[in-house]
């Protein structure tokens, strides 16, 4: 085990609000690993299947299958859980209003919130762990070998608790998280592989639920972050919610139907809102056309200019953090050599317009970088960082990432003031040492309140954590001299250690954070340990290979009914039939590689058929649009369904 861990691959994971991806370094280029369905993006959606008829625990599905369940059984599905990561009960009220999170009734203040999913309850890190486990499995299926080490990306503006929750999720999924990397920095790494050696770049990252801006200096392979800023609750979700709210209100006013009472209908409407938003990136008008439960139709056109007016306040909220980041880096917009756009929301033309104005790009004859797919670039960068950590790779041996902490760290002092001990934008790891004493005779505990923020009074800062120092030797008040060392590690996570110096015994003081999950709780939530479904690795691969074979066999059996079938020659049809019979035969056996080979062969035999079907699907999709508009859309995103996803085995 130890040997294989040492030599095993390290994968890079983008655990996103909307979509998640896993990537690895293939030679000297990072590539995304597709799922069983052949798609790179795994929707960050988790669904609880119905309880099996024979009893036992219901199983959990992730990704596109889970998303399908969203319309049918919304009460058993959860998405955008990243918004809840590392947050306390009192912090998530706004989220509960906008998102269909169902909080468990028995959650008490100070506890990590639990979310109801069907008849079960999960903490946000557990939900994220299911997504991570799916990505891990996708990678294992791709490599045909276990994957146990990963780099996971987080928004640069994530605080300590949010980062710790992400690491906990990794551990629950059976992953050794070698590093948390900030998303914008990861994107810079992905772009930096083959880019100018010296320069200053800004990364503007507007994703599904978070916004980050980072400014980096590049020099001979060293990526030194100068400053970072952002908003952990700002993204495409907010735009969807705007459209959704308008539609819900209009439907209520015009048709007298309050859809808010119908979770499934709200989900259908949300999907329509997202489709409209995406369409408006390439077209001038988008349409809502929804059938309501009472048989009425809600039809509405949204012109792009109306849409842009509507979302302006949301986009404007990204301007402040950009200006602050520039100020903190001590530079003007003109000193930014390049701007990189990350996150699906940067496809919106109004966002690109705003970025252009913020950094005076067009005026200087520059354009932002969009060469890498904004949905994938963070995962690609995570793969680069994974390669750096794995070491022994020529393509990344000269690269090193020096990141910063996004928020100033302070401790509450007497009178409710804040003593700042580590400034924001300090390169991490960073440390500070402070001394404390007791106020009461024989006191053995001291509570330290750690805050983040730039304000002078504790009540104006955000409480980050409370640490209890326990086991102080009893002495007169004011006599103990407790040295407390605060260290922000390379993951941006705070470590606190304390020692009493006066007693001469240099006793190590126990430091206990009073937030998040305890080690024991995380231990108990490790997925495979309570799934009771822990099969050995080879057995799992066999099951997955069989499922895949079943999927392609079912599709092939239906093929003769498809109009495209007629366009195949007799030989092509015969070849498919032969490959089909071969796969059906070996699929009864236990030989993993035979099943894989036969699956691959059948996939190969049906490739032309798949192409014919895809052509037909595309023709259907663009019927009724001008060819120009269709071409533009194709350029952005080819979404035609591939009925038989290529099976990619190594």
């Amino acid at each position: 085990m130890a040997e294989s861990t040492l030599n095993g691959r390290v994968v890079g994971i983008d655990l996103g609000t909307t979509n998640s991806l896993v990537a690895y370094m293939q030679g000297d280029a990072p590539v995304v690993i597709p799922g069983v369905d052949g798609l790179n993006l795994v929707p960050s959606v988790v669904a609880l299947d119905p309880i099996p008829a024979e009893g036992g625990r219901p199983s959990v599905t992730v990704g596109n299958t889970a998303r399908k369940a969203l319309i049918e059984t919304p009460e058993r599905v959860i998405y955008s859980v990243k918004r809840l990561m590392g947050r306390g009960l009192e912090e998530i009220h706004d989220e509960l209003k906008l998102f269909p999170f169902r909080l468990a009734d028995d959650v008490e203040a100070g506890e990590v919130p639990r979310i109801r999913l069907g008849e079960m309850k999960f903490t946000p890190p557990e939900i994220s762990a299911y997504i991570l486990r799916q990505l891990k499995r996708n990678a294992e299926r791709f490599f045909g070998a276990p994957v146990t080490q990963a780099v996971i990306t987080v928004p640069a503006y994530f605080n300590d608790a949010q980062r710790q929750a992400t690491k906990d999720a990794g551990r629950m999924a059976g992953l050794d998280v070698l590093r948390l990397v900030n998303e914008p920095t990861a994107a810079a790494l992905a772009y930096g592989l083959d880019r100018a050696k010296v320069g200053t770049i800004a990364v503007y990252d507007l994703g599904g639920g978070t916004f980050d801006i980072s400014i980096l200096k590049l020099r001979d392979g060293i990526f030194e972050v100068q400053s970072t800023n952002g908003d952990t609750h700002l993204g495409g979700d907010d735009i969807d919610n705007l459209l959704l709210t308008i539609a819900l209100d209009e439907i209520h006013a015009e048709h007298g139907v309050d859809l808010r009472q119908h979770p499934a209908a709200v989900q259908a409407l949300r999907k329509a809102a997202i489709d409209a938003k995406i369409a408006l990136s390439s077209e001038q008008v988008a349409r809502f056309d929804i059938e309501l439960p009472n048989g009425d139709r809600y039809q509405r056109e949204i012109p792009r200019d109306v849409f842009e007016l509507l979302i302006e306040p949301v986009l404007e909220r990204t301007a402040g953090p950009c200006k602050q980041a520039l100020a903190d880096a001590g530079i003007t917009p003109e000193q930014i050599d390049e701007v990189v756009l990350v996150g699906g929301s940067t496809r919106i033309p109004a966002v690109r317009q705003l970025v252009d104005e913020l950094f005076h790009l067009a005026a200087r004859g520059k354009r932002p970088h969009i060469e890498l797919n904004p949905d994938e670039v963070v995962a690609l960068g995570a793969a680069v960082q994974a390669d750096i950590l794995a070491g022994a790779s020529k393509s990344t041996e000269e690269m090193l990432l020096l990141d910063v902490t996004p928020l100033s760290l302070g401790i509450e002092a007497l009178g409710g003031t804040v003593a700042r001990i580590i400034q924001r934008n300090s390169t991490i790891p960073a440390s500070a040492t402070e001394h404390f004493t007791t106020g009461v005779e024989g006191q053995t505990n001291v509570a330290i309140h750690v805050l983040q923020g730039e304000r002078e009074l504790a009540k104006d800062c955000r409480s980050l954590a409370r640490f209890d120092l326990r086991g102080i030797p009893p002495m007169s008040a004011g006599l103990p001299r407790i040295e407390v060392k605060f260290l922000i590690d390379a993951d941006g996570i705070l470590q606190v250690t304390a020692r009493e110096q006066r007693s001469g015994q240099q006793a190590n003081i126990e430091v206990k954070p009073t937030y998040g999950l305890t080690d024991e709780q995380v231990e108990g939530m490790i997925l495979d340990s309570f799934d009771h479904a822990e099969e050995d690795f080879a057995a799992r691969l066999l099951i997955e290979a069989r499922n895949e074979a079943e999927t392609i066999l079912t599709a092939v059996d239906r093929a003769p009914g498809n109009p495209a079938w007629k366009h195949l020659t007799g030989e092509e049809q015969a070849a498919i039939a032969a490959a089909r019979d071969r796969l059906a035969a070996v699929n009864l056996g236990e030989d993993l590689s035979a099943i894989r080979d036969a699956t691959l062969a059948l996939d190969h035999a049906t490739r032309r058929f798949a192409e014919l079907m895809m052509d037909a699907a595309v023709t259907t999709a663009i019927r009724g649009k001008t060819m120009d508009a269709a071409g533009e859309q194709m350029g952005h995103e080819v979404t035609a369904p591939h009925p038989m996803a290529a099976a990619e085995f190594k």
Binding site: R219, G391, L400, A419, T427, P429, A490
Partner: protein, 233 residues
């Protein structure tokens, strides 16, 4: 906050057991990473104590050392080496952050040399400001005048009125204080040179001057901040 340990004490390398002095991140014999060395931030970069620092050379050395000591280079190393890499890199980063920034560097070196420096936590200055004994004497009259104007400005804002004359006067005051800050910085740079090149007596005098300059600087900074806030960004 700072521990100064006699750097001549030899310490045995954990890996090759050969003794070395205490101010190195890597064993000079076997090149293995070492626990965080004692000594000051200058020693981390192999520099003599000085107020003037060659910044491009400092950055170059920071990058060179980062490449060797950063936790990314030890992701798969043993627990002890990972722990030392983390602690060493924190020390390296803290040292670089302090030395690259002129004011931080000046305060740091003055403290190393035993000078008493005013409290630097930003939150604590404001109350002291009203204390007349802390006002530099040449500014007494002006600060008195300014405080009156700031008060007037607050009242005017409260009433929702605007007073262009007052506004202009405050803007002028801000420009004047900004100019004084530039002068202070020039004087500081002059004292750096005196200290770096001087003998013990010259150094002692330069230290006293620098402590006073830093006090004045902090005071002016707070004035500028108050005026800027009052003008309402």
């Amino acid at each position: 906050m700072l521990k100064i340990i006699d750097s001549a004490v030899p310490i045995a390398c954990w890996s090759c057991s050969i003794g070395h002095t205490d101010s190195t991140l890597f064993c000079p014999h076997c090149s293995k990473i070492q626990p965080p060395p004692g000594g000051d931030f200058f020693q981390v970069f192999g520099l003599e104590r000085a107020f003037q620092v060659d910044l491009p050379a400092l950055e170059h050395e920071f990058h060179r050392l980062s490449r060797k000591v950063h936790p990314d280079r030890f992701a798969r190393a043993g627990e002890l080496e990972r722990e030392w890499s983390l602690a060493d890199t924190a020390l390296l980063n803290d040292a670089y952050r302090t030395l690259k920034e002129p004011l931080n560097r000046t305060e740091y070196l003055l403290k190393l040399e035993g000078a008493e420096i005013g409290e630097e936590h930003a939150g604590k200055d404001r109350k002291d400001q009203k204390d007349p004994s802390r006002v530099p004497t040449d500014l007494l009259e002006e600060v008195f005048e300014l405080n009156m104007q700031l008060e007037e400005m607050r009242m005017a804002r409260k009433m929702g009125e605007s007073d262009p004359d007052l506004q202009a006067s405050l803007e002028q005051a801000k420009r004047r204080f900004d100019g004084m800050l530039v002068e202070v910085d020039q004087s500081l740079r002059g004292q750096w040179q005196v200290w770096d090149q001087g003998d013990a007596a010259a150094r002692h005098a330069a230290q006293k001057t620098m402590v006073a300059l830093l006090d004045r600087r902090r005071y002016l900074n707070n004035l500028v901040r108050d005026v800027t806030e009052s003008l309402g960004a």
